[in-house]
């Protein structure tokens, strides 16, 4: 079945270090309402709902079921959840729309990192036999990758600092960003990565509405058509991989059609400066491509939502006529373990 599917609306919270005064559903609900209001749709108009989150972040079992209160899930709706970034929830919703079972989908994701210690929480996603018992935190694993890039001559500390500075400067135009403007590179967190090379830790949520065919044109002046979307994963053992490259990203991009024509914009989910170096190489992005005009994950990285936000930001630029063909990338796991690439296009102007 060949159906055209587009992102027709996007909304996100302001991302903040803590949202302790709000429960997850209280944090999420304004974003759900905003994205519905942009299309004029009501909850009951939505054909399929899919969300992404992780109970490990806030330490709350089955928190996604409580988050469903914000959707208006009663009487029962067609709904699914992935224990992954919302970009993968969007992938599931896209396949659902492809089948023709639904014409519209609501995709949302949220993450509250503030109740726990994120660096430690993320160790629990690692190989439980050989790696997790050593508790290598997320910054340490990214630092191993950064050092491998430096050793390979792919980057150096000043180049990483310039990625950080460009991202936070671009984020000054993004009112939702958590870190923007002039941010000092700071001291080493885990050498060679400094504070400035790492993403801010914070809470946030995002939502997207997908629609198929003519329905998309009714709901949005300039839909961001998903021309291709694919996700791939690396071998799970870090020591088997070449950490300076991301074949899974390249493969996903190829399958998504990213290399058929150049893109003008790329929203890359690179939580660490060094990971942008890897992704630019894997995606063969030239100097003419506008990378992370939103500031990217270095400006706001609500875990489980930051990947969906990349798709949303890329789509929003298409909606606003600021991009005609954009690439959006999402990642999950240590050192760019799993990667999703989507190619979005606007109708010719």
């Amino acid at each position: 079945m060949n159906r055209e599917i587009a992102v027709v609306a996007f909304a996100q919270t302001d991302h903040r270090r803590t949202s302790e005064e709000l429960s997850e559903v209280e944090m999420l609900m304004p974003v759900l309402h905003e994205v519905l209001a942009r299309t004029g749709l009501k909850t009951s108009d939505i054909g399929f709902t899919c969300s992404g989150s992780s109970d490990y972040l806030a330490g709350r079992a089955f928190s996604f079921t409580l988050a469903l209160d914000g959707v208006g899930a009663w009487p029962p709706i067609a709904e699914s959840h992935v224990e992954m970034d919302g970009a993968w929830a969007l992938y599931e919703a896209w396949t659902k729309l492809l089948t023709g079972d639904a014409d519209t989908a609501l995709v949302y994701s949220y993450g509250k990192s503030s109740p726990g210690s994120l660096r430690d929480v993320l160790t629990r996603q690692l190989d439980p036999y050989y790696v997790a018992p050593l508790w290598p935190d997320s910054v340490a694993l990214a630092a191993l990758q950064a050092q491998a890039l430096i050793d390979a001559g792919d980057t150096d500390e000043p180049a990483l600092a310039s990625v950080a500075a460009r991202s936070r400067t671009d984020a000054t135009a993004n009112s939702h960003a958590q870190l923007r403007g002039s941010v000092p590179q700071g001291d080493y967190v885990v050498r060679p990565l400094r504070t400035g090379d790492c993403p801010p830790i914070g809470d946030g949520a995002a939502a997207v509405i997908l629609a198929a065919g003519e329905r998309a044109r009714e709901l949005c002046d300039r839909p961001a058509w998903i021309r291709g979307i694919d996700h791939r994963i690396e071998a799970h053992s870090l020591g088997v991989r070449d950490l300076t490259d991301s074949p899974s990203t390249r493969f996903a991009a190829e399958k998504a059609g990213a290399f058929q024509r150049p893109v003008d914009t790329a929203e890359l989910h690179a939580p660490f400066t060094s990971q942008e170096v890897v992704l630019r190489k894997a995606l063969k992005l030239g100097d003419g491509v506008r990378v992370n005009p939103s500031g990217g994950a270095l400006a706001a990285n609500p875990v489980m939502a930051a990947g969906l936000i990349r798709i949303g930001e890329a789509a929003a630029r298409v909606h606003r006529g600021e991009s005609d063909r954009a690439l959006a990338h999402a990642t999950s796991g240590p050192c760019l373990q799993q990667n999703l690439v989507a190619v979005l296009e606007g109708d010719p102007r």
Binding site: E20, E21, L22, S23, E24, V25, E26, M29, L32, T43, Y56, A58, G59, R60, L66, L68, D69, G70, V71, G72, W74, P75, P115, G116, S117, R119, D120, V121, R124, P128, Y129, Y130, V131, A132, P133, L134, W135, P136, D137, A140, L141, A143, L144, Q145, A146, Q147, A148, D151, Y188, V190, R191, P192, L193, A235, H236, S237, L238, G239, V240, L243
Partner: protein, 313 residues
């Protein structure tokens, strides 16, 4: 808005995991100070070894001993070790390709400082004094000046192989229940039950969770309900819970407080268990200093008519 409630929350599990044949041989080997890799169909030796070829996905089991010495392929200096990491003094995280292996193993390197560490440096395993068949049987790596140590060619067959690991995991959180539940809990401490009303369908949620699950809207209007209520349904509990000082049998009931749009639950006391019935009118019983009712007891009012609570079952 009053101060947000917060409380420490610790999530702790001892994860018990069984091992496949290759993992079992590798971890048993560490117990015996032997490092085993696994050979793939293409002749590569993977350390740490896995059960399936990461390229072809074929099952692999050809074990081969490698040396306890190797070369650092990348590193990162950790000046502030965190709880449960291999060393409690500053150390380098390293990926090490052991002599005889084609892939690298993640562990810690004990070195005096970052200036003493570089990619390509030679290191050797420092064994833990007490070993049980776990990755932590390698205490860490340490710098190695000498020649490569030859592997002895172990067969990979051991007496008393380990077949599983127990991996404790603990995460510490600070729980905060959010605006609606904070307001509910604070009111409860004052012996008041305060729900929230949906602005659209007008239903009053007790306890409130901040959203109406039917309408998907925020509930903000606070509504005091009760204190009296009606038993809508109940069960008789005959199993004595551990550490619970309540005699069985007792009755646990759904109670629709007057004005509430749904029932909450609580224990019924002050009446023999076999006289509790649907429609029984009850009120909360508070004990000194408690933040929530200890139980509910009959008010003595006439039973509620079924039609008054049929939608609240």
């Amino acid at each position: 808005m009053p101060e947000v409630l917060k409380a420490p929350l610790t999530v702790e599990f001892p994860f018990t995991r069984s091992l496949g044949p290759v993992q079992s041989a590798f971890l048993t080997g560490l117990r015996e100070r032997v490092v085993l890799g696994v050979r793939t169909g293409h002749g590569r030796t993977l350390v740490p070894p896995v059960e399936y070829d990461p390229v072809t996905a074929e099952e692999i089991h050809d074990l081969v001993e490698v040396a306890p010495t190797g070369t650092v392929t990348t590193w990162a200096w950790n000046h502030a070790p965190r709880r449960d990491q291999p060393l409690d003094t500053p150390f380098a995280w390293v990926l090490v390709r052991l002599d005889g292996a084609d892939t690298a193993l993640l562990h810690a390197l004990d070195a005096p400082g970052p200036d003493a560490v570089h990619t390509g440096m030679r290191v050797r395993i420092r064994w833990a004094e007490e070993r049980s068949g776990a990755i932590t049987d390698i205490a860490c790596f340490e710098p190695h000046d000498g020649d490569p140590v030859q592997a002895a060619g172990h067969s990979g067959v051991f007496t008393n192989p380990v077949t599983g690991i127990v991996a404790p995991a603990r995460l510490d959180y600070t729980y905060s229940p959010g605006r609606a539940q904070t307001a509910y809990i604070n009111a409860l401490a004052e012996h008041r039950n305060v729900g929230e009303r949906c602005p659209s369908c007008r239903k009053v949620y007790v306890p409130p969770r901040g959203a109406c699950p039917t309408c998907g809207l925020a509930t903000v209007e606070q509504v005091e309900v009760g204190p009296h209520g009606t038993v809508t349904t109940f069960c008789i509990v005959n199993i004595k819970a551990k550490n619970l000082d309540i005699e069985v049998p007792y009755v646990y009931a759904h109670i629709a407080l007057d004005g509430a749009g749904l029932a909450l639950h609580g224990r019924i006391g002050g009446i023999p268990y076999d006289q509790v019935r649907m429609g029984l009118r009850v009120e909360p019983v508070w004990t000194e200093g408690a933040r929530y009712p200890d139980h509910y007891r009959p008010t003595g009012e006439a039973d509620a008519d079924y039609d008054t609570y049929r939608e609240l079952l």
